[in-house]
Amino acid sequence: MERAKCLEVIYPELKDKLVVTIMGACAQELYNLGHRENFFYLQHAMGLASSIGLGLAKHLPKEKIVVLDGDGSVLMNLGTLSTLARYRPKNMLHIIFDNGSLLSTGGFASHTTSGLTDLAMMARGAGIEHVATAVNPLQFGEAVLDAFERDDFSFIVAKVQAIGPDKFGMDLHLAENAFRFRRYIQEKKQQGLKE
């Protein structure tokens, strides 16, 4: 399964959610589908995408948060799994695209490549209840729909191939992305207050 394909499957669903994605290949694939003001691209700090997600989810209970993470990134911040289990943000979905690779830096094998390290099992061990693994786009789409219907924290490991986009480049500065993402949220909050 290709991550780009997975993103294409869920892209329409991301319209009204707050999306935080990891750097590099994943960010580019999402951007290539069409940037939206509700997307935040974490271009460097490995491991923190789900922590940003938790911060958003805890302070915006009416919003739905989707975090697009990678195996290499989440392995840098495993404590996040237990923090998420403890605070259980009901309005958050954490997706790990497990390509068994540090794809965005030369494609070196990651610790999950051999299949020895099982991220889904680690999430369960951390105390996360709703954990799914998807190996094809149909399974992935279903797992995501289940997660959106469920009013509870959900975690999906999507097994994907270690391939990324051919070209890199975004017409969006990092700080600009942060400013606009915040503004999008604040305007939505204002509208919510008016309604």
């Binding site: 271009q43 700090a45 923190l48 938790l54 911060g55 302070h59 404590g79 990092l174 942060a178 949220i185």
Partner: protein, 169 residues
């Protein structure tokens, strides 16, 4: 030496008076009374992390959400959070208001705190993070408010170092 109950209360009242609505934290001896109060306060959202770098992400989320947020940690936690501070907060111009227990300095009896204590100020300077020392209990509320205000106007991490004078009796 014991952790000052009275001054911890002052710090907590300062946090509340600054309009802070949520706090992310990792415990440390000097912070125990403070964290106890935070846990007991139904109006304050407290998120305890497994490692301080997580709190940088949480603070960014709170900032995007528009909620006044503050981070509580000891200086070794600050050292453990540096990549997040640099590559998330500073890179994206996200403010952080950090209250840091300044262990391992003048009067420190415990050897394990000393290396971190000795280098903390230089690391803050190297990172270009503005910092102040909280020593006098009567000033600390004002200092917290000012730290928060400055973090928001500068869109930068700001640190208030909680010193031994303040935190111990």
């Amino acid at each position: 030496m014991s952790v000052s109950y009275e001054n911890s209360k002052r710090v907590f009242e300062g946090i509340k008076a600054a309009g802070i609505k949520s706090v992310s934290a990792l415990p440390e001896t000097w912070l125990v009374h403070l964290l106890q109060r935070a846990e007991d306060d139904p109006d304050l959202e407290l998120i305890e992390v497994a490692k301080e770098e997580e709190a940088i992400g949480i603070a960014a989320g709170a900032y995007f959400a528009g909620e006044p947020h503050l981070l509580l940690m000891q200086n070794h936690g600050f050292l453990a959070a540096i990549n997040g501070i640099v590559s998330l907060a500073q890179l994206y111009h996200i403010p952080l208001c950090m209250l840091i227990a300044f262990r391992g300095h003048w009067g420190e009896p415990y050897p394990w705190h000393t290396r971190g204590g000795i280098i903390t100020e230089e690391v803050l300077r190297a990172l270009g993070i503005p910092f102040e020392y909280a020593r006098a209990p009567e000033n600390v509320a004002k200092q917290i408010k000012e730290a928060y205000t400055f973090s928001q106007s500068s869109l930068s991490p700001v640190a208030l170092l909680l010193t031994r004078d303040l935190m111990e009796d």
